[in-house]
Symmetry: C2
Subunit: 317 residues, 2 copies
Amino acid sequence: MRIFSKGLLPALLAGPLLPLGLHAQEAAVTPNGVVAAAPASDWKPIDPADLMVMDLAPDAAGKARRVVIQLIPAPFSQGWTENMRKLVAARWYDGIAVVRVQDNYVVQWGDPNSEDEAPDTNGDTARAKPLPGRLEVLAPGDYTAAASALPEDVNGANADAYAARTGFVAGWPIAGDEKASWPIHCYGTVGVGRSMSPDTGTGAELYAVIGQAPRQLDRNIAVVGRVIAGMEHLSSLPRGPGIMGFYTSEADRTPILSVQLGNEVANLPGFEYLATDSASFARYRASRANRKDGFYDVPAGGVDICNVPVPIRQASS
Amino acid sequence: MRIFSKGLLPALLAGPLLPLGLHAQEAAVTPNGVVAAAPASDWKPIDPADLMVMDLAPDAAGKARRVVIQLIPAPFSQGWTENMRKLVAARWYDGIAVVRVQDNYVVQWGDPNSEDEAPDTNGDTARAKPLPGRLEVLAPGDYTAAASALPEDVNGANADAYAARTGFVAGWPIAGDEKASWPIHCYGTVGVGRSMSPDTGTGAELYAVIGQAPRQLDRNIAVVGRVIAGMEHLSSLPRGPGIMGFYTSEADRTPILSVQLGNEVANLPGFEYLATDSASFARYRASRANRKDGFYDVPAGGVDICNVPVPIRQASS
């Protein structure tokens, strides 16, 4: 789009970097402008121990491909994230691969020799990696947390087809009703692959959303995190030619060299998120619902919760 | 996801191919099952004259990449689609390129030498292609049609954050209120790039949505069509390293060899869509809102309109 002519780019991308105060708040009406104007105190650090750093094999040009995944905090999906920490500690993920890319749906990775990851091809189940011991066995009831985990006064989104209430809790999009609350599948969300219910998966096979939010998976599958850097290394992978986007030849799979926790990785940049209970976030969300600049004539007046990505940035060093 | 173990695949993918009738309708409760059970009379042909066939340069392995775009029917965006037909007739699109890929947003193509398509790089504006004459100049008022174009009794979707009403008209997702109706930006939607309002673009630069539905663009930009085949050739392109996903070197751009109307292309398969005013479509939509099979435990009870992609298939020859 020529939203994208030279003159407009600075305003659209960074927004005016004005001194703080009421006038700045009025001027910074674009989403990026609001984010750029947020005071440092509205940015919260992400603990490196809550990051999974997944290094894919280099691309065809030899360029490194690093994907950084933030694990979801309590009270959501803690059993699965604990399993994933055990799998990282056992170096179990090292050497597995991206086995499936289905357009407008998910990228999935796991052990190519698991029967589950190679439904129509060349997996060698005799060579499947044994899982480490002491993985928790979770039940579908663990997909949700107490309703109170989504307070009524959080920064909510607008009308939602899937849940009575939605809002943001500690930097994450959450849905709920009078009985429970649960994390939401948006673009970049990471979840736990599983077989038929009531199996809930161990965390040994994971997927990331690369299309329209598949909210029908909410409460039916464990949301364990989100991609906060390197998403393009997953979303631009070739779609698989097989059934449901599975790759049909080993050569098409992208190897995963290693998965480490962020605090195990030297020189990993720090990451911060915009506190979702801050005034800056409230303004950001409002500006996503009602775009006001020289490009937009008709503000929507509302916004889907998955169209309000929580701003995340690298901390200045 | 191990929704994807061998045993489950046939049921998930094709659904039971049962004889028609009440029992079959009850049994065919998955979306794919409903679609597979739809009678031939519920499928409508897409006129090849309403297709734009865009052939990208072959991929690195020499494989052809064909993208098929269906133009939106009246009463929506007719001025722009008429311009696009003139641009095709003038062979204006032949030799342009994909110039921008922004993750979770859009793939954009146009003339690399236009100032608008190369904001920070190597476009040679002196070599920009002149547009053919007699292109219509459209106004923002043309983004919408009469409210009556979205009848109240169409197959509607559920709660929507962006519009008072949504539904499907002649195979397309449409939003509306008491004053107007307009087409919706979903995954795969094709729209017309433009500069600052009140410019509305000519149709010489186009984009396709490759992420979460950017519904804030509705009524602010012209929706002219959707990708019905070859979407993966656009969505899996490398994201651009420049500002807003623009490519910063000519070598990164994907050339567009030619764009032809479907009726100009030899041996193009026929395409059909599931009539959105059919009982099959109503069942399909209901099944998208309430998944019922061995995988899902908790049906959502609703579905976003962009999560109800209109089924399109190649006609059997």
